[in-house]
Subunit: 379 residues, 2 copies
């Protein structure tokens, strides 16, 4: 499994006897991380509000960069001059980059999808661009990420079966084209992406197609896009038997505490989401009891920490009354402290999940977690 | 000079033989700081974008809090429950609070000044308030600052002589009322404020009136409000012979690098200003060569630090190209890093000024400084 000719190796260290969940270690050219892992999102070469030192202090081992945003600004010319995203943002740990496709479909003013690729207009200045599988890989090579993602189409929910089928088959063809132009396999890994919407047979078709290519890892895309949680869990369960056991499995765009627990139980190894930082900036904290909306007037006179169970910097240094004041005033320190706590909460949750896996008690942990944690439309 | 019955003591340690500038040490219930000192402004219980740890790491020894803002939000009830501003914001070093008057005159929707005090409407919710000298002290007692300022009227520039005279005389009467209600002199110091606009004889009248009260320190208000720099320097020079040598002298609201150097030369000991953080958030860096407008396109491809002469965290970790990108994107990390550098630059400048005073070479330092530093309407 430790193939030193490859950018990425995955060591499956333990399978939880209670749940079947996996504990592993992924090694990249910029260091290792344990799985299951949560990857904070650094959309525009910064995890919003946070410094690198703060990310490291809370145990962040890998971050995600957004290819679409970085392609728009600062662009590949400056990324090349800087020597890649690691150097540009002075982050020396692993980076995963998405393909840019998701943002082209969700952010661009107009987009026109063809077999060749996607024509789109920048959401910033309306400039016209054409993203192809080859171009996505070229941009990600300029970024120099440790893990690149193939260009895929994330189909919306709900969607017509015929469209989802057509789209997943194109995603497979696009993977083939990404692999064809993928150059330095010692420096950058490439993950394929399973699509198929919420149609079990299409998911199975996709996972078979995608995993027919020997790749360093495989992702599950097109979930957590509005479908009921049970449907998401069912889709994951349906494809898991076909996902190679010796490769990391990355569920894209998922990051609420309940999803992290449930999907770890189902054998997922990697997660990312803007959820914790976005929630934080909106004045909501994730805690062991569920969400705390710090904006609410009830917290103005509360001199408790956000989460009495939490030992993060924020909870050990500041009160709810102070955070309420900062958020009400729109002070940047408030946005920072809320983001900091929420990221810590998720990274600490993943530590607890890994610990429970290694101790063969992830189902017991899940029960304990949900006994305390109230779900309030937590997505 | 070390009167342990008083909240504040000032030890004048050295007078620069070249310039007459002063090096001293101020001791308060929350610790000591060397003078001349620059005090970062923490308007709403936070120095904008910065954490306490970052402030401490760059050598911040005292910060300023704004009474008006803290009175509006969170208000004295919560400040009392929190146990004061130090506890509320978890800052255990000295804090100076202004009287609230400046903001009432500049921010409130309407204000009506009378001998008794100022009636005003909150800039946030339009609620009606009445600020008197006694009320200002009561609020500052609730905040628990180490140094309180008297309520004064900062007259605008230009202003009629008769009005300035009337106003400074009222400021003197207000000082008397502040002193009358000033309770715990072991816990909180009180500074009087010299006004008088840009009329030399009125400045001298004011400094004589204000210093006729035995107080722990004296401030110079009503300068840097739009008048030419030379006029400000002339006003400071005219009153300096009347300022007690054994008390700290605080020039309010001044913080551009050129002013800090020139006013230290003229015997000022304490400064504060929102200038460095506001400039930083607007994308402008203070450097040894003058201002660097990092927003400008020329920096997009510059992999130099903001200031090659600077050894701050920002200059040793990040390039202009990265800061340009963050500021152009409106990323909070950009606002943080620019504020951080600018605060460091001023605090480091004060270190150099103190060093030059102690080595009897502040005029030589001034010449070296201005040989490199370009002034571009630096206010």
């Amino acid at each position: 499994m430790n193939n030193h000719d490859e950018a990425l190796t995955f060591e499956l260290k333990h399978i939880c006897r209670q749940s079947g969940a996996r504990y592993g270690v992924v090694t990249t050219p910029h260091g290792s991380f344990e799985t299951p892992v949560f990857m904070p999102v650094g959309t525009r070469a910064t995890v919003k509000t946070m410094s690198n030192e703060e990310l490291i202090s809370i145990g962040t081992k890998i971050i995600l960069g957004n290819t679409y945003h970085l392609y728009m600004r600062p662009g590949t010319e400056i990324m090349d001059l800087a020597g890649g995203l690691h150097a540009f943002m002075n982050w020396d740990r692993p980076i995963l980059t998405d393909s840019g496709g998701f943002q082209v479909f969700s952010l661009a003013k107009l987009n026109d999808i063809k077999e060749e690729g996607v024509a789109f207009q920048s959401h910033i200045d309306g400039s016209r661009h054409f993203l192809t599988p080859e171009k996505s890989i070229a941009i990600q090579e300029s970024l120099g990420s440790d893990i690149m993602m193939q260009l895929d189409e994330c189909t919306p929910w709900p969607a017509e079966e015929s469209y989802v089928k057509q789209s997943l088959e194109r995603t497979t063809r696009w993977l083939e084209r990404c692999i064809d132009v993928w150059k330095d396999r010692k420096k950058q890994a490439l993950f394929g992406i399973v699509q198929g919407g919420t149609f079990e047979h299409l998911r199975i078709q996709s996972v078979k197609e995608i995993t027919s290519f020997e790749l360093p890892g495989y992702a599950i895309g097109g979930l957590s896009v509005g479908e009921p949680a049970d449907l998401m869990y069912a889709m994951i369960e349906s494809i898991m038997p076909f996902m190679p056991a010796d490769k990391p499995r990355y569920l894209m765009g998922v990051g609420s505490p309940d999803y992290l627990v449930e999907c770890s139980v189902r054998g997922v190894d990697m997660f990312d989401c803007v959820f914790p930082t976005r929630m934080g900036r909106n004045g909501t904290a994730l805690t062991s009891q569920g969400r705390v909306v710090i904006r609410n007037a009830i917290h103005a006179r509360s001199f408790l920490p956000l989460d009495p169970q939490c030992d993060c910097y924020v909870c050990t240094h500041y009160t709810r009354a102070y955070l309420h004041h900062l958020i009400r005033c729109g002070e940047i320190l408030g946005l920072r402290l809320m983001s900091w706590h929420n990221l810590y909460f998720l990274i600490d949750l993943m530590r607890k999940i890994r610990d429970a896996i290694c101790r063969d008690r992830l189902l017991s942990f899940r029960e304990e977690f949900f006994n305390a944690y109230k779900i309030v439309n937590d997505k």
